[in-house]
């Protein structure tokens, strides 16, 4: 479904628009640490939510993707510990009507996968960008985020498609 769109557009050099969240809890020794959480999107309708503190990127499909796919019935995820490169196929999402490959939005090592999805694949429809997360990748190179789209760029991308 999204195949044609893959090569369609590459985002311009998006200015990093980081979301600033409050710091760790007061009890923490890192009261003054400032975590920057960045959310970026691929042209293939994956999102990555990057936490500069943990260096973990949480990979999801977008809400637009889940609504296009319809009822998700099966999710195939990568094995923990796998080293992936940006653009590698790391899994697949199956709906009644279609199978869609998932590509790594960013390079790194798969740190964990969402085990809930094997029994509740419908989480991808209910909460694609939160509870229905796919996997967390220990990010090798933050700079790769610059090649991805921000929320506005992504919205423009799927609206023109």
């Amino acid at each position: 479904m999204f195949g044609l769109l893959r090569s369609a557009s590459r985002p311009g050099l998006a200015v990093l628009r980081a979301t600033r969240t409050t710091a760790a809890p007061l009890a923490s020794s890192r009261v003054f640490a400032r975590t920057i959480v960045t959310k970026r999107f691929t042209t293939d309708h994956e999102a990555v939510i990057y936490d500069s503190d943990t260096k973990l990127g949480t990979v999801t499909i977008t809400d637009y993707a889940q609504s296009s796919l319809g009822d998700v019935v099966f999710v195939e995820l990568p094995t923990v510990g796998t080293a992936v490169k940006q653009g590698d196929q790391i899994g697949a999402v199956e709906s009644v009507k279609a199978a869609s490959d998932i590509y790594a939005p960013i390079s790194g090592t798969v740190e964990s996968i969402n085990e809930e999805l094997s029994s509740q694949p419908g989480l991808l429809n209910k909460s694609p960008e939160q509870d229905g997360w796919l996997c967390k990748i220990k990010v090798a190179d933050e700079a790769e985020l610059d090649a991805l789209m921000d929320a506005e760029g992504y919205k423009a991308h799927y609206e023109q498609s």
């Binding site: 099966f74 709906s95 009644v96 279609a98 199978a99």
Partner: protein
């Protein structure tokens, strides 16, 4: 995320339009597509329209998901627009003999107002199209064929008719072909279909059993109603003159009827073990390979006087090289094109032709062709999905036991 394999439905579209079913294609191709008489009705009802068999057809309606829509037909009643299909009348003193030349069915022994699934065969015995033939009298037949095969079927009908009418076989009377262009065709399907339709007609629908048809008065109109369908449920296919199609569609879509699109149609027919032309059937497949030997009349096997008989009879006698089978696949659903192997080996046994997760069974079901000898139920095989072998077991079809009304 990129779709590797998308709906098999699109494969039934014209060969030139073959390929993945992509959002973009939908948008750009829409302008050139034909419309059924209910196009505006679908749009008014929130349909997501997609190209199918050269037509713009509803995939789904509003926010109703594929599984909910499928289940509604299994549990209650759904309405499908199948007005894209080609409806034709064959009339004339030798119409029975003509259609028995084009198909291997025993139409002479078919009762009036009875229908049969049949196949149009090429000279090699390959399936040009699958079709439902309804006999009204020995000299009048109503035939429904696939929209996606219109460009193949119609010239075939016309050429064979010309040949027939010029031959001594038509001495007792020629045959004419009338295409019911613009006519509507609606399928009301589900366990509550009969109760719903009964509320609209004085005709006693208990007298109309599966595989039979009648002219039924519906709201002052006399409509051709055939009991059957493509879902595995009880139901009706209703043929409607062009001017009345919209009104009848509105009449047939009140609560509890839910408008149902191509998405659910495909999962319903697959559970019912029914073939989709272009995916599960093609011109290189004989009815014997396709598991449709039952459409070949016993008398016709002996006389062998139909187009393609030689190839078909050879497969009957020697056994076909491959057979259509059902599979239940573990883990990931196997889609069209997935290769089938013998366990732990690189010996390819066949290919999946249709596959989906079954909403009713909660399992991944598939239709496939495998080498003769590997077709027995319970046989364990492996299917390659995304370069991983998945276990699969040959399972008799239908996957879902049909609930036809047989009286």
């Amino acid at each position: 995320m990129s779709t590797t394999l998308v709906s098999t439905l699109s494969r039934a579209a014209a060969a030139s339009a073959r390929g993945s079913w992509r959002i973009r294609c939908m948008a750009t191709a829409a302008g050139e597509l034909k419309k059924t008489g209910l196009y505006d009705f679908h749009v008014e009802n929130g349909a997501k329209m997609v190209p199918f068999a050269g037509y713009s057809m509803p995939l789904s309606y509003g926010s109703v998901g594929a599984i909910a829509s499928h289940n509604h037909v299994r549990d209650s009643v759904g309405l499908f627009d199948v007005g894209h299909m080609m409806q034709t009348n064959f009339r004339g003193a030798t119409a029975t003999q003509f259609l028995e030349w084009l198909t291997p069915s025993s139409l002479s022994s078919l009762e009036p107002f009875a229908s049969t699934l049949s196949v149009l065969l090429n000279e090699r015995g390959g399936i040009i199209d699958d079709t439902v033939i309804t006999k009204h009298t020995a000299s009048a037949f109503y035939v429904v064929t696939n929209a996606g095969r219109r460009d193949r079927d119609l010239p075939w009908f016309e050429a064979k008719l010309a040949e027939w009418n010029a031959s001594p076989r038509a001495a007792a009377g020629t045959v004419t072909l009338e295409v019911l262009d613009g006519w509507g065709l609606l399928a009301l399907q589900g366990p509550r279909a009969a109760e719903y339709l009964q509320g609209l007609t004085p005709f006693d629908l208990r007298t109309l059993t599966f595989g039979h048809s009648a002219f039924v008065p519906v709201d002052g109109r006399r409509l051709h109603v055939a009991r059957g369908g493509y879902t595995g449920e009880d139901g009706f296919e209703i043929s409607i003159p062009p001017a009345d199609t919209g009104a009848v569609a509105r009449l047939l879509s009140r609560n509890p009827v839910q408008l149902t699109g191509l998405g659910a149609r495909d999962s319903l027919r697959l559970e019912a073990g029914m073939c989709l032309y272009g995916s599960d059937l093609d011109e290189d497949t004989t009815p014997v390979e396709a598991g449709l030997t039952w459409v070949i009349g016993k008398d016709r096997r002996e006389t062998g006087d139909f187009i393609g008989a030689e190839g078909v009879l050879k497969h009957l006698k020697d056994g076909p090289p491959r057979r259509r089978v059902g599979l239940i696949v573990e883990g990931a659903p196997a889609r069209q094109g997935a290769k089938i192997f013998s366990p732990g080996s690189d010996e390819q046994l066949g290919t999946v032709t249709s596959g989906q997760p079954s909403p009713t069974l909660g399992k991944n079901i598939a239709m496939a062709y495998v080498q003769n000898g590997w077709h027995k139920k319970g046989t364990e095989v492996e299917v390659d999905v995304r370069n991983k072998r998945r276990k699969a077991v040959l399972t008799p079809m239908p996957f879902y036991k049909p609930r036809f009304f047989r009286g």
